[in-house]
Amino acid sequence: MSINTKLRLGLPNLGLGVGLRNKHFNYLLNNPAGVDWFEIISENFMDDFGFASHVLMHVRKQVPVVMHGVSLSVGSTDPLNYTYLQKLKELAERVEPEWISDHLCWTGVAYTNTHDLLPMPMNEESLNHVAERVLKIQDFLKRPLILENPSTYLQFKVSTMPEWEFLSALAKETGCGLLLDVNNVFVSAHNHGFDAVKYIDSLPYEHIVQMHIAGPTDCGALLVDTHDQPVPSEVWKLYRQAQQLTGGVSTLLEWDAKIPEYPELLEELFKAREVLKGNIPDTGIYRSPNMPVSNPVDFQLQASNG
């Protein structure tokens, strides 16, 4: 596959979107989408021919859809799971998404799956490993893969480069796109003491296809990526910086636990328009004395329609 140097890899700026979540299924069957696009969790719809799939195809008729995965495990040292990739491809044939994304992480090894987004060591060896797999995946899917920076809580001592350098090299070497999660940059910057502004400025902006915004939880020494709160001011500021750098890319509000009603969710999403005009909402970071669950899975679970 030749390296695409067009802005956003030639992919469209879809505007403002939210994740398609079980909680809103009935609302969405009776009301217009109200957003420019939806992101789905790919694994939720693989081999699902029930109500969830029906709702997906209902909204798909109204607005574009993007497939976002959580089990590609692109960084794993296990062999690539072609059964998974085949399912991903079949789903893409059904849904016709604008693009397919996942995370720069590994979810398991030794044929187990932790269902978490685990951190990669950042060095030449791991970069070569991931780049080789990204190229194979792109060949299989016949489209560029879009990779998201995850929130991380530890760094390996063997790492020799910062995450932005790793992602930049990966994007340039493989032609993959980047899903810049500004909340994850904020969380990881806090947890590891790096400069979030520098991180964003250092990325190859022409590869940035999409952004995520979300609200984390402050647990004292660590920020945890809980996706269960409004977007705090600091994340909005990074979002504005990133949108200025890229000239505008598709934006998605992630809210995956304690999910509000749909109209409230859209209110939070539409703050993005004001942010681009320079009006940053005054929202603090939610603090919790307890350790919450990072990468919650509530949104991945089946909603009973019985």
């Binding site: 694994e43 693989m46 081999d47 699902d48 021919f49 029930g50 109500f51 969830a52 029906h54 089990s71 495990s73 960084g75 794993s76 040292t77 799971n81 998974y84 399912k87 590994w106 398991g108 090894v109 030794a110 044929y111 187990t112 799956n113 932790t114 269902h115 978490d116 685990l118 990669m120 060591p121 060896e125 791991s126 490993h129 809580y153 530890l154 760094q155 390996f156 001592k157 063997v158 790492s159 947890n191 590891h192 003491g193 004292g220 020494a221 660590l222 945890v224 350790m291 669950v293 990072s294 990468n295 919650p296 899975v297 509530d298 991945q300 679970l301 089946q302 009973s304 329609n305 019985g306």
Partner: protein, 282 residues
């Protein structure tokens, strides 16, 4: 010093996340297996300790998967109570780590696990109720399968009344949707299941061989107790595209009069079709 390549680091962290025990024990095991020390593996720059960082992944693992079990087995959890359910669910997750890319598969073997780990009955005491949690979980799992499997929602459904002539002359073509789940159970579960689901008063069911069909129609789940012959016929219908052939096969295998079966099937067809257990192909 051991070379910390990506393979080693991933196996080390996987052990810290997935091994049994408290964090210190997990880290100890990982260090022992891979001949490293956590302070040589994880950077300790910043405010959080190495253990606090590892704890986010380690504690998150079990909490995340327990949430999944709560969603998949909400009715079993109501019946067993939070504490008892947690004990079994945690043990299940420890001995059945996920090997699938989808969380949908996570709880697949939970009914069998409950069956294998139920308390052993004491001699002379009727302890049949120890079998209820596994049976309830089996019904719950079948509902999930019925919820996701291909149904008949997108098919053009023939709603014409079945003509007895078509049945007799072998021209009634049928299909059984993939979402139909047929269960052979040791308790009558329908009323009990619905009572637990709705948080109503209930009596524990008494041991009795029963049969259940669960399907989906218009994206609604249908759960019905059926007779043994209905169970056998629906199972047979899966193997045939013609109702007469299914009846003939069942008659031959179980030595039941085919005339009797034809008469019964004629009466059952409206119920089967209404529930989405079977559909007639034009």
């Amino acid at each position: 010093m051991v070379k910390q390549d990506t393979v080693l680091l991933q196996n080390w962290l996987r052990t810290v996340v997935m091994a049994l025990g408290f964090l210190n024990q997990k880290i100890g095991l990982a260090n022992h297996l891979y001949q490293v020390h956590e302070n040589d593996v994880v950077s300790n720059e910043g405010n959080a300790s190495v253990h606090a960082r590892l704890n986010v992944y380690s504690s998150g693992y079990m909490a995340r998967l327990l949430d999944c079990m709560y969603a998949d087995y909400a009715i079993s959890k109501k019946f067993m109570g939070d504490e008892l359910f947690d004990s079994f669910a945690k043990a299940y997750l420890m001995y059945h780590p996920s090997t699938s890319f989808t969380l949908y598969d996570l709880g697949k073997a939970f009914p069998d696990f409950l069956d294998r780990t139920k308390p052993q009955p004491e001699e002379g005491i009727d302890n049949n109720h120890f079998d209820i949690p596994a049976t309830l979980a089996r019904v719950e799992r079948a509902r999930q399968v019925a919820m996701r499997a291909p149904g008949i929602e997108n098919d053009i459904v023939n709603t014409n009344q079945v003509d007895i002539q078509d049945m007799l002359f072998g021209t009634l073509n049928i299909s059984v949707p993939e979402c139909l789940q047929l269960l052979e159970l040791d308790f009558p579960m329908k009323r009990f299941f619905e009572a637990v689901y709705r948080e109503e008063e209930y009596e524990l069911p008494s041991s009795q061989k029963t049969y259940m069909a669960i399907s989906r129609k218009n994206y609604r789940l249908v759960l019905e107790e059926i007779t043994e012959t209905q169970y056998l016929l629906l199972n047979e219908c899966r193997k045939h595209t013609n109702l007469y052939d299914a009846i003939s096969a069942l008659s031959a295998d179980h030595n039941i009069s085919s005339a009797e079966l034809l008469a019964d099937a004629f009466l059952w067809m409206p119920f089967f079709r209404k529930c989405g257990f079977i559909q007639v192909i034009s």
